[in-house]
Amino acid sequence: MANKRVLLAGGRVIDPLAGKVRIWDVLIENGKIVKLGKGLKAKQAQRIDCRRKHIAPGFIDMHCHLREPGHEDAETIATGTKAALAGGFTRVCPMPNTDPPVDSEAQVRFQLCRAEEAGFARVHPIGCCTRARAGKELAEIGAMKKAGAVAVSDDGAWIADPRVMRRVLDYSKAFDIPVISHCELAGLDYGVANEGLVSTRLGLRAGPDVSEAAAAARDILLAEFVGARIHIAHVSCATTVDIIRWAKARGIQVTAEASPHHFTLTDEALAGFDTNYKVNPPLRTEKDRQAVIRGLADGTIDAIATDHAPHTKSEKEVEFDNAPPGMIGFETAFGLGYEQLVLTGDMRLPDYINRMTVAPARILGLPVPRIEPGANAELVILDLKAQWTYTPEQVMSRSHNSPFFGRQFQGRVVGGFLGGEQFWLLHPA
């Protein structure tokens, strides 16, 4: 694609940093944005009609599971990053709960290498906080950071020992790397559903939302005490949102993310015992869902992250108690967010895009994505009017554990650019 000139004509360019949308032509040359403006003329350029389309920076997913190494039957870095691209994510951050866990420089390099070979979305690995995610000894955070890790997390497991967590936070300061906490208080009732009316009705083993909120509170207070950065993963309940809001007002270096399923669904969805609705943290109540949306709208929750968690059919086709938690999320994230946050009037479109691009970039220390002359052409083209139905046939991920099949969506990613390459997904303009 060398020396290629492409003119994106007449699209609405979203600037998530300034919070603006402008109708502009975008001229791309050799994978770089060279010009923005009205009525651009470019000789020998491929012209793409972007009228009635939006153009945004490529999305960044700071929380997903690509399952490689260890569970390649569910997903590989190649299939996962392809699915990510289909959802508009040009950069993704896999969590290190692979088998073996990503707790060393070699593991980080392996994932980067695999991603490079695949050539789809870029990968920024997240390393473990502790060796083998065991919550006992520090992992080689410095070496992993140097190899390309952008954060550390023992995702899936909360670091129960407060002394270990304190040291993780303390140590990570040397590398200005965020510590991402999966908040789930150890020892409190563990369940497969949120403890409340629905779990009572269905007789499901349930864990209370206190489990998340109390764990978040401890980690936030430890981060304040040692002066480190803490990031709260997949915020699911109202109390946690309140605690983060309080912490931010107090000046603690805390950031947070929420997942599309937590601002789209509630535990009422469990009524049919469909294991595709089983996630961790569990789907909670309408009050919590609303609180997560408010948190995203007022900036208490900085980023949207999919928590894309592929599982094979045989893993999920079991009793509800026995199914592993998680659902795939790359390909439905943008549509769900657009429907639940923008079409509802809770957020403006550029602010929503901010949660998918600028916010995660800042948390992870990645270059802040912008559509401006000189920047790399890493962008997505969105059709916000497109009505579409999600079906298993269109899934790019190796796993199909989504509860959203058959759902009507409005708004989708139709194409984009990454690394000088143009990727077209469904509707070439």
Partner: protein, 340 residues
């Protein structure tokens, strides 16, 4: 499997299918369940419950005959799929199937392949391949019967799924009460014990409240699940506050493992606070009806004297259980045959 469509001749066929083996009750009730499976009380309407209880009435009459068998389900095969040990419920279902002339195969945990790592999906597929008409399933995990129902052409009866539901127990409780008290509407029913881990409690609350009874539950707060009142009951932590105001007391079993896992300080304290002791029994009106889903932990949830209490219906429940399960199997099998 197609359901009855309104306007089709299906309904009429049902009514004119007069050669029912058992004697039809006078009201000529239309014993039609609009259901393919019995997964819980939650999905039943009051008239569904009424239809099952009416049908059970006629089967109870069958059970009193010298030869208590009818050919209603001759040639049908029912599997008792018990992933959790159970003697009473499994036996009750087996008897019900036998009394209806169905063949009943027992498939229990110890003899099953679960220990060899066979999944529920494999089990479902195997049952499907064996062309079974109905499956009675008991499982330690909520939703397991729903899982099977989604994947099987056979009808599925939930015989207890974890802490979720045990619909035939609630139906037989309601049947037993209806026989003793007449209508349940306006009657005060109290459930005492481990509400949190009890599938009987959930099904009973739903069933009794659908039939118009006023339901209360009582137990230590550690064994009362959150928002249980929204299922349609009042919550009490102190037994003596409510015991003497009710028409029916259903004493639930307290599993020994709860005693040792921090929910309760001791058996002694539980008996003192929540047991139907001799003393409480003495103070109770003789018109109060006592139920227990069995098996009883004598000396824990109730003293042995309860067995001699005139209104203790614990053994009636067992007899009625067979009639109610006959009704459930019969109605579901018939519904399925009609749909074919």
């Amino acid at each position: 499997m197609t359901r009855n469509k309104p306007g089709s001749t299906g309904r009429l066929d049902k009514r004119t299918r007069a050669k029912r083996p058992a004697k039809t009750p006078k009201r000529k009730a239309e014993h039609t369940l609009r259901l393919n499976h019995l997964l819980g009380i939650e999905t039943l309407s009051p008239s569904d419950i009424g239809a099952i209880l009416d049908q059970a009435e006629s089967f109870l009459e069958v059970l009193r005959r010298p030869i208590p068998v009818v050919p209603a389900l001759r040639g049908r095969t029912i599997v008792n799929l018990f992933f959790e040990p159970s003697t009473r419920t499994a036996t009750s279902f087996s008897l019900a199937a036998t009394r209806l002339s169905a063949q009943c195969v027992n498939f229990s945990l110890s003899s099953s392949s679960v220990s060899k790592g066979e999944t529920l999906l494999d089990t479902a597929r195997n049952i499907e391949a064996m062309r079974i008409d109905g499956v009675v399933v008991r499982h330690s995990m909520p939703g397991a019967p729903h899982f099977l129902a989604r994947r099987l052409k056979a009808f599925v009866v939930n015989a207890g799924d974890g802490c979720h539901e045990h619909p035939t127990q609630a139906l037989l409780d309601a049947f037993t009460l209806r026989k003793r008290l007449g209508r349940l509407r306006g009657k005060k029913v109290l459930l005492v014990g481990d509400i949190a881990h009890s599938r009987v409690a959930r099904s009973d609350i739903l069933c009794f409240s659908k039939l118009g009874a006023k339901v209360a539950v009582c137990g230590p707060p550690t064994l009362i699940p959150p928002y249980i009142e929204e299922l349609g009951c009042e919550v009490f932590y102190r037994l003596d506050k409510i015991l003497y105001e009710v028409d029916v007391v259903n004493m639930l079993r307290v599993q020994n493992e709860r005693m040792n896992s921090g929910f309760l300080p001791s058996v002694r304290e539980y008996r003192k606070l929540y047991g139907l002791t001799r003393e409480r029994l003495g103070a109770l009106s003789k018109s109060v009806v006592i139920l227990h889903p069995g098996p009883v932990n004598w000396g824990v949830e109730m003293d042995f004297e309860v067995a001699e209490f005139p209104q203790s219906l614990i053994l009636n429940q067992v007899t009625n259980g067979v009639a109610v399960r006959m009704a459930v199997l019969y109605l579901l099998a018939r519904e399925r045959a009609d749909g074919e």
